[in-house]
């Protein structure tokens, strides 16, 4: 714990300021739902931006502030690598996200990152459970950080992939135009909406995402489950998964907390002894259920 001056000096590369921002340019924009947009981005200096599925950036609109936003595209997609692009899918809820909403193709903003551990924690995706089955369970905008996983799995075609996705209404679902491709690629897609308009054409379920759990074919012991969504939703999901015999070590959750630095120094995202920004945002349920201050 004790550091000499020399150690402090030696440990730091003074040219690397972790608060330094990188300018990015919007090369593509897509309205996903009425209040969600996907931004296709490129670093303004042309260099390649590397990240892991499940990681996030601190996105800056200067004068407004910063917000934590996950990468929503597949980091290994060849075309994107060639062009040096990646995507963020953002729901407008507040200052920064609304400021992003005002931007157009060709506009610039800033990022720093990537931050966090990714799915599942500590491992590149292809190494863990590559041959095992995977179920992803998402609520609302929580599908954004899971999309890289879905794309990755479909490209690798290893093991079964089940997607359980719920949103408030069918119109609030992200990536609806990709569902067909996902299904054709071999994913089993199970959808549910909390409520639907009278007389709407909705061949799927109505109700909470937990209602889909009975339809799952992947069984405990056969693979992993990745969950992302509002905390209450994750809470009921893991409760039911546990009842169905899923071991806590095989279920991974992406937690949301307030973040200001992403570097374990601002203290905002601490829960119990972990920092969600760096030790997470992805944790196994085995870890989460022991944490004081998380109601899951």
């Amino acid at each position: 714990m004790v550091k000499t001056d020399e150690e402090i000096e030696g440990a730091v590369n003074p040219t690397l300021n972790p608060f330094r921002l990188q300018p990015v340019e919007i090369v593509g924009l897509k309205q996903v739902t009425s209040d969600v947009k996907t931004y296709t981005l490129r670093l303004a200096d042309g260099s390649h931006f590397r990240f892991l599925p499940g990681q996030f950036n601190m996105v800056s609109v200067i004068g407004i502030g910063e917000a934590a936003i996950s990468m929503s595209s597949d980091p290994d997609e060849l075309e994107a690598i060639e062009r040096g692009t990646w995507q963020h899918t953002v729901r407008q809820v507040g200052n920064v996200t609304k400021a992003l909403d005002r931007l157009q193709v060709g506009d610039r903003f800033f990022i720093r990152g990537p931050y966090g551990n990714g799915w599942p924690p500590g491992y590149p995706l292809q190494r863990v459970g590559a041959s095992r089955d995977l179920a992803v369970i998402a609520g609302g905008v929580g599908l954004a950080p899971l999309r890289p996983v879905v794309c990755r799995r479909l490209a690798r075609k290893t093991g079964r992939l089940e997607i359980l996705y719920g949103a408030r209404t069918p119109e609030d679902m992200l990536f609806r135009d990709e569902f067909r491709t996902w299904a054709q690629g071999g994913a089993r897609l199970m959808l549910t909406a909390d409520k639907i308009a009278d007389g709407a054409d909705w061949p799927y379920r109505v109700g909470l995402v937990t209602a889909l759990l009975d339809e799952m074919e992947i069984l405990p012991g056969q693979g992993h489950i990745f969950v992302c969504g509002p905390e209450v939703m994750m809470k009921s999901v893991v409760r039911e998964l546990t009842e169905r015999g899923w071991p806590p070590e095989e279920v991974f959750l992406s937690l949301e907390r307030r973040m200001e630095c992403g570097q374990k120094t601002c203290g905002r995202c601490q829960v119990d002894a972990v920092y969600v920004c760096q030790d997470g945002p992805v944790f196994s349920y085995a870890v989460v259920k022991e944490l004081l201050g998380v109601d899951i």
Binding site: G63, I64, G65, G94, N95, K98, A99, R102
Partner: protein, 265 residues
């Protein structure tokens, strides 16, 4: 001043108040000329004879609502304003004159006027949010000039202005003042008062008297107990909570817990 499309069209209106919260606009000294670069002051009766009609992008309202005419005007102002911001104790809570809310209007009229029957006003003075929807507030009695500037800058940039739950205590600590409660046994209201003034009173050796209103989650029950421990009578505690800012919910409710409510019309 001439209107310009890219400028923020701003207005300032006064209701029942002392003008102390408009004065900071005039006290912006050189900044006020900066202000004129981005902001088109379309209506500010105290500063300019040229008043142009709404709609306004940003309207600051000083003063509480205490009569029919106030109600008519605040509705009109609301209609004409995209963003309506109440500034100061009067607009937020009703101001010092809201002390009358806890008294009998008839008694007051008789006390002050030879012909009480000629007076027409409400028995209460209340904040503007009791009458119209409000987009934001700036606290203080008076408001701090810097907060008004921040508000304008935030609106110009397109973000919601900061709302902090800091207490006056934190401003004291940042100034390294010695705590009056701990060191001198003064029943300072800083612990239940929202920050914003820069801990003025404690910096000048007197206990905070709460002019920025209650903090975000004030523990008034504990404050009343603290006062009791420091030897204050119930009446003294009540007068503390019913002074400059008297009609804020948290202060009002704490007093109501202590005393049987006087009957009021």
């Amino acid at each position: 001043m001439t209107a310009q499309a890219d400028k923020l069209k701003m207005a300032v209106f006064k209701f029942t108040s002392c003008s102390g919260c408009q004065t900071p606009f005039l006290n912006m000294e050189t900044e006020i000329l900066d202000l004129a670069d981005h902001v088109d002051i379309a209506c500010f009766a105290m500063a300019s004879s040229a008043t142009r009609p709404g709609p306004y992008d940003l309207t600051f309202v000083e003063g509480g609502i205490s009569c029919e005419e106030d109600v008519r005007r605040i509705n009109m102002v609301r209609q004409e304003s995209k963003i309506l911001v109440g500034i100061g104790n009067c607009a937020v809570y009703g101001g010092p004159q809201a002390l009358r809310n806890f008294m009998s209007l008839e008694d007051l009229k008789r006390t002050v006027y030879p012909q009480p029957d000629l007076i027409h006003c409400f028995p209460t003075c209340k904040g503007i949010a009791d009458y119209v929807p409000v987009d934001g507030f700036v606290n203080g009695c008076p408001v701090d000039q810097g907060h008004l500037q921040d508000y304008i800058v935030s609106v110009l940039l397109g973000k919601s202005p900061e709302v902090s739950s800091r207490s006056v205590c934190l401003e004291c600590k940042m100034k390294e003042n010695i705590c009056l409660i701990v060191a001198e046994g003064v029943a300072c209201m800083g612990v239940v008062t929202g920050a914003g003034c820069g801990a003025l009173c404690p910096s000048f050796d007197r206990g905070c008297y709460g002019c920025f209103g209650p903090s975000a989650d004030p523990n008034l029950n504990s404050f009343a107990n603290l006062c009791r421990e420091l030897g204050l009578t119930e009446d003294e505690i009540n007068r503390k909570l019913r002074c400059i800012v008297n009609n804020a919910k948290a202060f009002r409710e704490e007093v109501e817990r202590h005393v049987p409510q006087p009957v009021k019309g």
